[in-house]
Chain length 215, copies 2
């Protein structure tokens, strides 16, 4: 099985711009990527990066500067056309809570197409065993991927995982990393001064002791 | 195993006030409760309600008008003191995406205390097999419940479920119900005119064709 992690090198995580500087967003995105690669490594699969620009990494890197959907579909097409792979998994680089166990459940699930939905309609990870299936990450991709699988006659399974459903896009997602993370992402946030802010029973985010707006 | 579903009859779901009227919130809360009870029923456990006021239901109802934490702790104390139960599960009434499978995974997990975290630090479902463990739903309860278990020498397991992590509190959560629900809650939303609003690749909420603010 080929396991690909798409990674955008330029201006990652724009919706975290309200709480992190450009340099911080880049460093935090790298920490999340590192956690995802570590978790994949522990599943005994060899992940590779699909990056928008050349990037230093311990794992093989394919550079493709096209938008995510086109780049991933090129990987799917080439993997199945050459017959080199019978399955391709695509795992997002911002799944800071991903564990080997959650990923293994994805890889072990039956189905021509296995989907791990993300909060808000995204598809945070997927496993493709059908050569004709193609992705479309625009919009409510989980819904579109269900339909796309149906259209090519592929069976679909969805895995139920909070850890895979939590892509870290917005300030509120940092709360999840602080509560449930265990790797470099959480460590980076703690070192950057982030902590939970629990006031009047509501759980928010604080930096250096000062509450941070998460909406 | 005793399975208890707490249900607040008055002014439920205040954070949905921006998109639903009082009467709608009450009806939608009832639809979600119905979905949770149906899912529990399919696990071959007999759920009971722990309601703040007398309420009509097909399942047994215990009325306790105290705050959630006190009412649940009274259930835990009486269940273990009488020796009538060796395990008590507490499942929130707003888990509109709960499936029998997700609940069965909770019930089948090892551990003196099994926790299903909710998004934002809550504890959406838990299973208690240790007589000294007590709940505290205020604040970041998942963190507090980990500590509380440790303090009484109880082993802790957490289940990783997007379906159990999604409690429906805010307008953005309605998107999840539309995307992943299959029961009365989704049906109620569709009949009330709600649908996804996919604009510029972002997934939002619309009612009767008009976008609804979800922040």
């Amino acid at each position: 099985m080929r396991v690909v992690v798409p990674f955008a090198t330029e201006m990652p995580k724009t919706r975290l711009g309200g709480v992190l500087t450009d340099a911080e967003r880049e460093a935090f995105a790298r920490a999340m990527l590192s956690d995802v690669l570590s978790a994949l490594d522990a599943t005994d699969h060899d992940p590779e990066l699909l990056a928008t620009d050349p990037v230093e990494s311990d794992v093989p890197v394919t550079v493709d500067d096209r938008p995510l959907t086109e780049a991933v579909n090129a990987v799917l097409a080439s993997s199945f056309e050459t017959g080199a792979h019978e399955a391709v998994a695509v795992v997002m680089a911002d799944l800071a809570l991903a564990t080997p166990r959650a990923l293994q459940n994805l890889f072990a699930a039956d189905g021509d197409v296995v989907l791990a939905p993300g909060r808000g309609g995204g598809t945070n990870a997927l496993l493709v065993r059908h050569p004709a299936f193609r992705v479309d990450y625009h919009g409510a991709s989980i819904r579109d991927h269900r339909r796309a699988a149906e259209q090519v006659g592929a069976t679909v399974r969805e895995v139920d995982s909070m850890r895979l459903a939590t892509d870290v896009d917005e300030p509120a997602d940092l709360v999840e990393v602080l509560l449930h993370g265990s790797g470099q992402s959480r460590e980076w946030l703690r070192e950057a001064g982030f902590d939970l802010d629990v006031t009047d029973g509501r759980v928010g985010l604080a930096r250096d002791g000062t509450p941070v707006e998460t909406n």
